[in-house]
């Protein structure tokens, strides 16, 4: 099971690859759309890549609740 720190760092890698986000800007309190400028199509890519990386299933209904990086970390830690 991955720690929160490991998930944050894994998400930062994905966000850099998919959306060009600087990994230094990624922390738990950041909002995907407002702070990191991740649009809805890129968010889909992030989710699919995160599922693959952490072995967690993230249902589409759940994605809208993942406002911040911390929200995603909590979901992944609880479901992987």
């Amino acid at each position: 099971m991955a720690t929160r720190e490991e998930v944050v760092s894994g998400l930062a890698e994905i966000l850099e690859e998919v959306a060009g986000v600087n990994p230094d800007d990624v922390s738990e309190e950041k909002s995907f759309t407002e702070d990191l400028d991740v649009d809805s199509l890129s968010m889909v890519e992030v989710v699919v890549a995160a599922e693959e990386k952490f072995g967690a299933k993230i249902p589409d209904d759940e994605v809208q609740n993942l406002k911040t990086v911390g929200d995603a970390v909590s979901f992944i830690v609880a479901n992987s």
Binding site: V18, A19, G20, L41, S42, V44, E45, V48
Partner: protein
């Protein structure tokens, strides 16, 4: 004007290479090429990844990237950036012959291998044939209308013709017009090769594209984009724009003959040329140069000669720049319009390389092997496409 082509990453380098008679055709080093009967292509001289950042590029089909690169050069060249133009008077007409086929096929591979959930959410805007036009429109905030005509190898020229129509009909003052294509991929190549439409002169890539030569055995596939900024004359004059040439007229017809073969006497092509002449109100005698469609196929090259002689007469000096660029399909008419315009500006006809042993049916003058100085008051650019599409564009000195 803007371009990215097998000869260069911009208009200047492409034009210099044309005047020098350089071939952009080379052996494909991709692994899959080993399995194809055709192993040569005219690939981009400058990869889009050298110009567009990685994250932006992964959301673009290659044909969209080339369109954006050509449009960026044209836009910068036009001096319109920061000129305070009304976005509601700015239009875009940028077509592609085949569209985002590389994306379609790559995502199909992902679908087969990994399932539907892995298919990229960017797939649809990347593969849709209006994607290049839409991305260009988005980049420059065009609001007068964004259009993507598609007529196979006549697409680039047809886009320019529709751009002219947008301006003449009062729907726009400025139109970003051109064509783009990037389908150097095993499937389209296999398809064209199965039609026996492509050259298999694999051991002599630079000699493979040889319009009107007796040894021609089909076209060489090229990739790239060409974009023009069309602007209403009084609008351009009012802002003191640098004007390359006047797009004086266009003629479009359809053969109604065969889905892929041109009419052997080129009657539809001749009607397009005649229409362009009437539309431009230019005397035949002023049209002293033609950038021909001439793709290096046995039937098409000669049908065009018949059309030119019927509609225009024997006097023009022809060239086939596809001998150097290969055939850019939906971008061809746009790139060749740029060559036609620069021929007028610089008073020089770019060469047709590889015309070593002219076909007996070539009964017109061609600038073979070397560029030829020529004062050009008016010049014609022909484009024809599978489906029987014929487009003739007539440019005159500004």
């Amino acid at each position: 004007m803007g371009a990215t082509s097998p000869l260069g990453g911009d208009v200047a380098s492409t034009w210099d290479a044309m005047l020098a008679g350089r071939s952009g055709v080379s052996v494909m080093t991709q692994e899959w090429a080993e399995l194809l009967p055709v192993k040569i292509a005219a690939q981009l001289a400058v990869e889009p990844s050298e110009v567009i950042d990685r994250v932006k590029l992964r959301r673009l089909d290659r044909s969209e990237a080339t369109a954006l690169i050509a449009a960026a050069e044209a836009w910068a060249d036009s001096g319109l950036a920061g000129a305070g133009i009304d976005p509601e008077r700015l239009g875009v007409v940028v077509g592609s012959g085949i569209g985002g086929a590389q994306t379609l096929l790559a995502q199909d591979d992902i679908l087969e291998a990994s399932g539907a959930r892995r298919v990229s959410p960017h797939t649809v805007p990347m593969l849709m044939p209006n994607g290049p036009a839409a991305f260009v429109g988005l980049e420059y905030g065009a609001q007068a209308g964004v259009h993507a005509p598609t007529s196979a190898c006549a697409t680039g020229a047809e886009s320019i013709a529709w751009g002219l129509d947008m301006i003449r009909s009062g729907r726009a003052d400025i139109v970003i017009a051109g064509g783009t294509e990037a389908v150097i991929h095993p499937l389209p190549i296999a398809g064209f090769a199965s039609m026996r439409a492509m050259s298999t002169r694999n051991d002599e890539p630079e000699k493979a594209s040889r319009p009107w030569d007796k040894g021609r055995d089909g076209f060489v596939l090229g990739e790239g984009a060409g974009v023009l900024i069309l602007e209403r004359a009084d609008h351009a004059a009012a802002r003191g724009a640098r004007i390359y040439a006047r797009l004086a007229g266009a003629g479009m017809t359809s053969d109604g003959y065969d889905i892929v073969q041109p009419h052997p006497e080129g009657t539809g092509a001749a009607r397009a040329i005649a229409k362009a002449l009437r539309d431009a109100d230019v005397a035949k005698s002023d049209v002293v140069h033609v950038n021909a469609h001439a793709t290096s196929t046995p039937v098409g090259d000669i049908a065009e000669i018949a059309a030119l002689k019927a509609a225009l007469g024997d006097h023009p000096v022809l060239t086939a720049t596809k001998s150097m660029t290969g055939h850019l399909l939906g971008a061809a008419g746009a790139l060749e319009s740029i060559a036609t315009i620069l021929a007028i500006r610089d008073s020089v006809v770019p060469p047709t390389i590889n015309l070593d042993d002219p076909d007996d049916a070539l009964t017109m003058d061609v600038a073979a092997h070397k560029a030829r100085p020529l004062q050009i008051p008016a010049a014609l650019n022909n484009s024809f496409g599978f489906g029987g599409h014929n487009v003739a564009l007539l440019f005159t000195r500004a």
